[in-house]
């Protein structure tokens, strides 16, 4: 599903964000991407949804070479990838429902489809009761649920989460990870970048560790530390 071959990224400032990374993530896998801040986790995720381009190397997502993708095609790549953020990136002046429906609207989906799919996604994340609330009326965990609902509303085969629990307390973090696991079990490849040790240790999934832009560990049923 995801294949990186010798991917390096050097920013224009000269900082080496990723160094010669090669890895493969299969269909419907659940992978933790761990490492301290600045290790290159976010940069690696950005390569996948083409928020950023590699300096060298090949990034293949769903059989498509992302780096060589024609800019016109990028939107269609992104409809196959859901992204969840630490800071949620919800639109503050729109309700929960509108935030989720927004992701479908911009793809030009018909209104009836928008309604059905948005409600399904909100039901999956357990937010049906809050559809008309605004983001500032929600707790952090609820915001993250809405963010996840928005990411999966298009039924993408891939879900990327960048520090999804970074702003949440341990119990809520655990709930969110359970939710991501549930989504993974619905045939979605899930990649979670995190430095939340207890969650990684508890979930016992594949762990890929980055340090200073280098891949230093790739372990099935891994723990946060070796």
């Amino acid at each position: 599903m995801i294949e990186l071959t010798n991917v390096s990224k050097t920013f224009s400032s000269g900082i080496d964000a990723l160094h010669n990374i090669s890895l493969t993530i299969g269909k419907e896998e659940f992978v933790f991407l761990v490492g301290s801040s600045g290790a290159g986790k976010t940069t690696l995720l950005k390569m996948l949804y083409r928020e950023d381009l590699p300096t060298s190397g090949k990034v293949i997502v769903d059989r498509v070479n992302v780096a060589e993708l024609n800019p016109d095609q990028v939107p269609y790549l992104r409809r196959n990838i859901g992204v969840v953020f630490q800071d949620f990136k919800l639109l503050p002046k729109r309700t929960v429902y509108e935030n989720v429906a927004f992701a479908l609207r911009v793809t030009g989906a018909p209104r009836s489809t928008i309604r059905r799919k948005a409600m399904q996604a909100l039901e999956l994340v357990g937010m049906l009761r809050r559809v008309s609330s605004f983001p500032n009326e929600l707790s952090g965990g609820e915001k993250q649920r809405v963010c996840i609902a928005r990411a999966i509303v298009n039924n993408p085969p891939i879900l990327l989460a960048d520090e999804p629990t970074g702003n949440l307390d341990p119990t809520t973090s655990w709930d969110i990870l359970q939710l991501l696991d549930k989504i993974n079990k619905r045939n979605t490849t899930v990649v979670v970048a995190t430095h939340n040790k207890s969650i990684v240790d508890e979930m016992k999934k594949r762990v890929i560790e980055l340090d200073g832009g280098r891949l230093i560990r790739d372990q099935q049923l891994g723990m946060y530390n070796v």
Binding site: Y49, R50, E51, D52, L53, P71, D72, P75, Y76, L77, R78, R79, V83, K89, L91, F102, A103, R105, V106, T107, G108, A109, P110, R111, I114, R150, N154
Partner: protein, 295 residues
């Protein structure tokens, strides 16, 4: 598709409201620019009309050699009448001219004592169809053997023409400059709303909106600014032109002002569409610039 169009319009109104003050500034600017634009357009059309009307009233006068017989003069009149561009030829015999001259001045001068014989030639007053033809017609008449001299007020017309030309050139320069200034202001106004909606745009791009889709609300916002500015300037211009015309035709009834409603509505339409075009272009430029710096 229908739900998308609805989405674009709702989004455009949203950002319209959000940056209401800047939007007002843009609307006022576009209104002022378009009004000046329309004012110049109307002025140029009217000046052209005035020059054209006066020029067409100006006659060309041809003088014959003095000893031409009346029969020959009649033949010449026919000949001139057949020249291309000539509308009408009026003949005044030297006897009539002399009589008239004496009638006009005879009481003041003891003409008979100075001049014993009629010194005047036969004259032809020639009216041309199109004032532009005056020099050509003058040339072909003076080429006739029996014609001594041809006179017309070419200089006056040329002066009026060059004045109209200068005003037109100044108007074009001014209109271009104003359009650029207006465009810049619209671009910056919409740029503010683009910045205000950066997260929206980011999210739209993230969930797979195409660039075209992201652009439409901003283009529509620009169009709305243009439409409102266009209509406002149309109202201002129409009211002031109509009242100006009333006053001018009361004060200077001989001045030929343009009242052809079809032409006027065409001017108003051009002006309003220019506003819409400027607004649309402004929206397009500002959102395109925002979308450009991405991989």
């Amino acid at each position: 598709m229908f739900s998308s169009i609805e989405f674009f319009i709702i989004e455009a109104f949203r950002s319209f409201r959000r940056s209401a003050l800047m939007t007002m500034v843009a609307i006022v600017t576009i209104t002022v620019s378009l009004t000046v634009f329309g004012f110049f357009l109307l002025s140029i059309i009217n000046m052209g009309n005035i020059v054209g009307t006066f020029a067409s009233r100006l006659d060309l006068v041809a003088y014959t050699s003095k000893d031409l017989s009346l029969e020959d003069a009649a033949a010449v009149q026919l000949k001139i009448g057949k020249l291309p561009g000539v509308e009408k030829v009026e003949f005044t015999s030297k006897t009539e001219a002399w009589k008239k001259f004496k009638g006009d001045f005879g009481s003041k001068l003891a003409l008979e004592e100075i001049v014993h014989e009629n010194p005047l030639p036969h004259t032809f007053a020639v009216r041309v169809r199109n004032p532009d033809m005056l020099p050509v017609v003058a040339k072909s008449i003076s080429d006739l053997e029996v014609i001594d001299e041809v006179r017309y007020s070419g200089k006056l017309i040329d002066q009026m023409r060059s004045m109209v030309g200068a005003v037109r050139a100044a108007g074009i320069v001014l209109v271009v400059l104003l359009s650029l200034a207006t465009l810049l202001i619209v671009v910056n106004t919409i740029r503010l709303t683009v910045i205000a909606r950066e997260t929206d745009i980011y999210i739209m791009k993230l969930v797979g909106a195409t660039n075209t889709f992201v652009k439409w609300p901003f283009i529509i916002e620009g169009i709305m600014i243009g439409v409102i500015g266009g209509i406002a300037s149309f109202i201002i211009l129409k009211l002031s032109y109509d009242s100006a015309i009333m006053q001018i035709s009361a004060a200077l009834p001989f001045l030929p002002v343009v009242t052809d409603q079809r032409l006027l509505w065409f001017v108003y339409l051009v002006m309003t569409m220019t506003g819409v075009g400027l607004g649309m272009l402004g929206g397009y430029i500002s959102v395109s610039r925002a979308l450009k710096n991405e991989p």
